[in-house]
Structure formats: structure tokens, C-alpha cells
């Protein structure tokens, strides 16, 4: 019988980060109910995209603005990047200043399962990994600009790629 487990979300956080996370969780959130759209077709017929908040970008693309954050530590880059489905790990860089960029060199799938999602496509769990995945900068104390600009644009591209579902991966 599979063991029951209740995940401790704070287990691996240091004391300060834990306090910060708990403090932010208590802040009043956006009014309204939780968004919900049921999957309209079987998972095996669905196209799935990944969205990472780890500030990933192709090395050939414009980097996220690290200098802007260094100059204004309360600010985060509100833009996003597209990561093609078949991008190799060595083509991708991590620009999030709160995360070790070496994680990508070690094994990108630990935080952005781009290869593993293709495996899911190969074994028929999903119909397709989306042609394009996405990444944005998770360090955004004021996310409204990202929501108004980047998210709208990501949704447009996902519709063009006929994406049925997206997995948001924290980083």
C-alpha cells in the first residue's frame, strides 16, 4: 500500500526564507475565486507546456536583466523567454540571481523537465510536449507588469501552439 504523506513545504528552507514565505502567505491576496478550467480532452490527447520561474533563457536569446536587479534590488525583470521543445540543456542558461546557475549544467531536468516531458510524449502519456515552453523571473515583488504583459503574450503563443495544459514549475 502506498504510504500516505503530507508534504512539509518548508522542510528545506532556511530560517529567514521560511519566515519570509510564511509572512507573504499571510498577506491579503487578490480577491476572487481560484481559477479553474477542467481539461477538455483526455491527457493522452493533450499538448502540455512548461512554465518555469527560474529565469531560464536560450544562450542565443537576450538574457534576463541582472544588472537592473543589481542596481535596484527590489526590482525583478518582468519579461519572459521562449524555450523550444527540443532545446538541449547546453543551449539554456539560468539568469535568476537567487539560484545557482550551475544547476542547469548539472541536470536541467531537476528544475525544468524538458527532456522528461518528451519522454512522457514518447510513451503516450500526453499527445505532445508543446512546441514552445516558457520561463520568467520568479523574483517579482510587484508582479502586475509581468501579469499584464508577459502572461498575456505567453497565452497568445500557447493558443497558437494549441496547448491544452501548462505546468508551472517553481524555481
Amino acid at each position: 500500500m502506498e504510504k500516505q504523506k503530507t508534504v512539509d513545504s518548508y522542510k528545506f528552507l532556511d530560517v529567514l526564507t521560511r519566515r519570509m514565505a510564511k509572512s507573504w502567505q499571510k498577506l491579503p491576496g487578490e480577491p476572487g475565486s481560484t481559477a479553474w478550467t477542467a481539461l477538455k480532452k483526455p491527457l493522452a490527447d493533450s499538448t502540455v507546456a512548461l512554465i518555469s520561474s527560474a529565469g531560464l533563457a536560450l544562450k542565443s536569446d537576450v538574457p534576463f536583466d541582472q544588472e537592473g536587479e543589481k542596481e535596484h534590488p527590489w526590482w525583478g525583470d518582468p519579461s519572459f523567454r521562449v524555450i523550444p521543445k527540443n532545446a538541449a540543456a547546453e543551449e539554456i542558461a539560468l539568469y535568476h540571481l537567487h539560484i545557482n546557475p550551475g544547476l542547469v549544467d548539472q541536470d536541467i531536468n531537476t528544475l525544468f523537465p524538458i527532456d522528461i516531458l518528451r519522454d512522457a510524449e514518447e510513451k503516450g502519456l500526453i499527445k505532445n510536449a508543446a512546441a514552445r515552453h516558457y520561463s520568467y523571473m520568479g523574483y517579482l515583488l510587484q508582479p502586475q507588469e509581468m501579469l499584464d504583459t508577459s502572461v498575456r503574450e505567453m497565452v497568445k503563443i500557447m493558443k497558437a501552439d494549441q496547448v491544452d495544459a501548462a505546468i508551472l514549475v517553481p524555481g
Partner: protein, 93 residues
């Protein structure tokens, strides 16, 4: 307001899909997240994955080589920490 569906895994940030090179665990975590699209039938559904972090050795640390700019700033301006905890961002110049 919350997220529509959440697959919760007790792994460190940076390693949410599992240890480096551990394809079996990585596939398991992703597959569990994918099947949640069919299993969940109400907003806010949380699925707790029954996986324990195996504490692999020799892996890259999550922390960046230098402190993040806000960490550096708050160490120099500790009175601002209370504002950071409330996400009260000062007006940028």
C-alpha cells in the same frame, strides 16, 4: 485565490523533480503532476507525492555563488527587512 491544482513534493527548490540524473524519480514526479490534470475535479486540489528526498551526495548547492542583490541590500539595511516581509516596495528612483 490559489492555484487550480498542485502536486506537492518534499524535495528542495532546484530539485523539485528529483536528484540529478535520477530519471526514474524525475519521470515519476512529472507523471504524477500530469495525471493530476485528470484526477483533480475541483479548484485547489493538492496531491501530496509520497517521495522522500534521498539526500544524494555531491550535488550542486541551490544558493547562488554571490548573495542575491536584495539579500545584500537587507544585510546593509536591516530596518528594511520588515518592509520586505510585507512586500512593501519603496518607490524606485
Amino acid at each position: 485565490m490559489g492555484v487550480p491544482r498542485l502536486a506537492a513534493v518534499e524535495f528542495p527548490l532546484g530539485y523539485l523533480f528529483g536528484p540529478p540524473g535520477d530519471r526514474k524519480t524525475q519521470r515519476q514526479v512529472l507523471d504524477e503532476a500530469l495525471t493530476l490534470f485528470e484526477e483533480a475535479n475541483s479548484p485547489g486540489t493538492v496531491k501530496h507525492l509520497p517521495l522522500d528526498w534521498p539526500e544524494p551526495e555531491g550535488i550542486v548547492a541551490l544558493e547562488p555563488p554571490s548573495p542575491a542583490p536584495i539579500v545584500d541590500y537587507l544585510l546593509k539595511h536591516p530596518l528594511q527587512i520588515k518592509h520586505f516581509f510585507k512586500r512593501r516596495v519603496p518607490k524606485l528612483n
